[in-house]
Symmetry: C2
């Protein structure tokens, strides 16, 4: 049923594969906010037994990506104003800090990767490719964050992205790509120049402006 699920690798456990597959689907915006999810439905779609799905879904619920509604039914989380405000606050407190923390660990090879991601991203922006933009924007941010080697805050950031991604996908489809202006170039220059404050500010501004575009689309 799901079109773009990563291929099964026999060396990786089924539960982990299911979890990362669901993560990717959520982050890519394949899950529409509010839509109902069933364990057996996902199990059939991924062609696995319900058991590893239960484990993955339990995790995603605890990370806020999925919601347990009345009568223990599972659904994709819906955005509201207070959730959005807190996600924005937490992102602004955690992501610039981790970016800055990763600064000294980013080598030349990584910089080249980030540069290529950003070039691809600009291409998607020009052609109005929302899916491409969302995916490569995430690759850019997490490309930086992953270098930080952060044991506590990185999982928290991951959880935050899982929470707003379904909402972002819907909204981005409405506002389109032409109003988006990111601070990736500033971030890249800051990385190259090893300027902590400039990188911190670039990520901060990127989040502020990006989330600002989404704010108007919240319905309670």
């Amino acid at each position: 049923m799901f079109s773009k699920v990563p291929q099964r690798n026999p060396s990786v456990r089924v539960n982990q594969w299911v979890y990362s597959s669901l993560c990717q689907l959520i982050l890519d915006g394949e899950f529409v906010p509010g839509v109902s999810i069933t364990l057996r439905g996902i199990a059939d779609s991924l062609e696995v037994s319900p058991m590893p799905v239960r484990e993955a879904v339990t995790r995603l619920i605890s990370e806020g990506a999925l919601d347990v509604s009345e009568h223990n039914r599972i659904s994709v989380s819906v955005m509201n104003q207070s959730k959005f405000d807190e996600i924005l606050y937490a992102r602004l407190q955690l992501e610039p800090k981790i970016a800055s923390q990763s600064l000294k660990l980013i080598d030349r090879k990584k910089i080249k990767q980030l540069d290529e991601i950003d070039k691809q991203l600009d291409l998607y922006l020009e052609t109005g490719n929302i899916e491409g933009y969302i995916k490569y924007n995430r690759l850019f941010h997490f490309g930086i964050y992953q270098s930080a080697n952060s044991p506590v805050i990185f999982p928290m950031i991951n959880s935050l992205w899982l929470q707003f991604s379904p909402f972002m996908r819907v909204v981005a489809g409405i506002v389109g790509t032409n109003t988006i202006h990111d601070y990736h170039k500033a971030a890249l220059n800051a990385i190259i120049g090893q300027n902590h404050k400039a990188l911190y500010d670039a990520i901060h501004n990127d989040i502020s402006e990006g989330m600002g575009l989404l704010n108007d689309s919240i319905v309670n």
Copy 2:
């Protein structure tokens, strides 16, 4: 096996009871860092089948309270310097903010509760009762945070406490209660006076000083 587990309530599901029981045991410091955990062992101790334990443990792993070591063995998370630094940073960014956010929602009845909690806490400090201190310190903090009605940041704070609680219990047993000085009185006065900044600062100072006592005891 576990002595102080909350009583089973037939109206609440087994998985939720197991999860909250394990949470309480962890927060109260009953789980020693590094100790191995087995699904069947916990299931036998709580006199339930392994199934709901699997669910609870999966959640606790994703919240950072438990760790998956090599060969998929489960153990209580061990503290190290980088984890500690990030937990401290995240607590300082999130907890004062949520406390401040809860300020206008705390009514007279809640203030009375907090005051009684703090009185009991002082008693435990005088008599050197570590377990009592840890429990009532948590009751005080979460008594405030819960009033904030926070959908995103509150769960993050909960996860942070689950991560450092096992470590704190061990260290607190070493340093003792006589060196502890909290800012709960300042926090209470700030709440009564509806002073946002004073409450923010009180919680900030409380975390800084409390965690400062723990910092020296980290072994890598």
